[in-house]
Symmetry: C2
Subunit: 401 residues, 2 copies
Amino acid sequence: MNGILTGMRVVEAAAFVAAPLGGMTLAQMGADVIRIDTLGGGLDYRRWPVTEDGTSLFWCGLNKSKRSVALDLRSSAGRELAMALITAPGPDAGLFLTNFPPRGWLDHERLRARRADVIQLTLMGDRHGGSAVDYTVNARVGVPLFTGDPASEQPVNHVLPAWDLITGQMVAVGLLAAERHRRRTGEGQHVKLALQDVGLAVVNHLGFVEEARRGQPRQRHGNELFGAFGRDFATADGQHVMVVGLTGKQWRSLCEALGVQEEVDRVGAQLGLDLAQEGNRFRARRELAGIIGPRIAARPLAELAPLLDAAGVCWDRYQSIEQLATSDPECSPANPMFATIAQPGVGEMLAAGIPLDFSGLERVAPAPAPRLGEHTEQVLHELLGVPPEEFGRLHDQGIVG
Amino acid sequence: MNGILTGMRVVEAAAFVAAPLGGMTLAQMGADVIRIDTLGGGLDYRRWPVTEDGTSLFWCGLNKSKRSVALDLRSSAGRELAMALITAPGPDAGLFLTNFPPRGWLDHERLRARRADVIQLTLMGDRHGGSAVDYTVNARVGVPLFTGDPASEQPVNHVLPAWDLITGQMVAVGLLAAERHRRRTGEGQHVKLALQDVGLAVVNHLGFVEEARRGQPRQRHGNELFGAFGRDFATADGQHVMVVGLTGKQWRSLCEALGVQEEVDRVGAQLGLDLAQEGNRFRARRELAGIIGPRIAARPLAELAPLLDAAGVCWDRYQSIEQLATSDPECSPANPMFATIAQPGVGEMLAAGIPLDFSGLERVAPAPAPRLGEHTEQVLHELLGVPPEEFGRLHDQGIVG
């Protein structure tokens, strides 16, 4: 392993998606990420999906390539060890990531008293320290009420924890930015990030908020891409495809592939809309779908796919997760981002590494998630010089696992 | 402006969501991000939503805090200037971000011949250089077929461009990691990132792929949180709320707030399920909803909210985007992440800064997006020493705007 972050050391005490994903992002670029859990596992240790015997595929998926230290975090001795690990010396260490309340042993001032240049990133629910998770943030920022069937007024939750996933990457951004600053100035700091603020910022960035303030709140458009042409269609054999004509080139390719350019021009003329402008393609979306839909419905996918590909259309089929997992070569070791690993508690499984491909370095192969506490003795020895006999005593006292 | 990245200079030649968001993320932390567009604007310059007179709120939202340079990128003179800007000297410069094909003037070897330590990040659709956008990636990775009403088999697209947003943050991660490496080794490089790979990695990390490989593909569960208790309910006054009992503490708070603990215990005993285990709350979700739903339906939101808050329940109401935009104090300058700015072409609008709050530095206030070409003369002078009279000539020749 010789990743782009090799040499960097991060301690993580966190749970669920965003913060562990932030830590894993750094780990998959070669950083030594040491996850501390309480004995028996943290809040996410049994999170579904699980195997038949209760091993969490979720936990394994979000903690790949980390080391695991298990301590009794309810005991003061366990907390003392955790604080010592977080603030252990090293020019490229002293980075700490948590989504627990920054109180008690996680109080920034206490950690700073032990290591003046410690960098702590605390992920919170809302900026006031209140509870918020992906699902509640999503409800608040308005998106579920303009997702799904336009005929319905019921909220539609996303299944992908999008806010967590965006935030997870932002956790890595925050730690890298703070570490850069420390290398230039010697100064550590406490970085705070609220999941809810990420949601609020994004709906602002995308223009949703300003549209609404101007009295044109986003409506439900089902599976239609807003502001240009794009939507799902069914093929002759009952498959679904998503086709996109967002840019001019994409749009011309689609018309060419299906041989509908003349018909489209006629409709544009009838409606008085220049369909080279993407917004007009949205205005004319019903009429355009009326031309394109039947051409797609006339062909089975196996016939349609090469037509679309030959013309360079931006499209894909809707796959089931089973199709993806069992038959798509892009979701297999044929894609160099993936490797087959032996995951403790699970067995052989497919694991994704970091999607970033750095030309100056080999790709870091994804490593399994650790067994809980797998590295406790090793890490305590390496970072704190705890000798085997002392480790044995701590173990007998139930302080380490 | 004295952000954590002040002094860093990044040139961006890109369009749409992911790459511009990556650039904006750096800009909102204080980096000098110079966006290069062709004269008249790039592919995303008219992207909806737009104002009455066609100014893109989308473009303004994703290019805040950047500088804008407009060049005739179809002319060799314009491309020559772009290459010179990308590779201009400076210890903290030579960072380039694009989602255009890395050919011609964007060929990495050509840029490297001008500046040996240049860092280029190229965002691609798929890893083979093929076309893919958020909507097609989403179709391929299977999520739309397990989103929405369980009674339907139709795909449900997300409205939030989640893959773009995750990727946008990963763009910033990749540039920061490569810049760190360059500072330590002197070496630049070409970083490649495919939107499709981000989608594939995430569905792997979350366990969706492994579930499917084990013959238990994720089913549609509507608005229910998978693997614990959480879903939407309607209040007496027809509002919708999302309530979550993911952790033990959250679950106990919810039961306490609604006074249903005894009834819940009874149901657990009847079903033979220990409801302290999150997975069992998912197994018993219908029965639990049968207890919780009526308690929520019996109260108007104004009565329910203080009850839930007093018990520390993890919940939120489903707001419309109008409610969020016009009446939620968290989405206003009362939240220090926001400021009211004067956006050229739009007027007064609310703008979000970076959600990361670095304790060692003041928050960088969000700055408006530039007018197209607003900084062409300034940047050409600063970076390339182009004097006013030469700029005038270039302008007369239609090479700069």
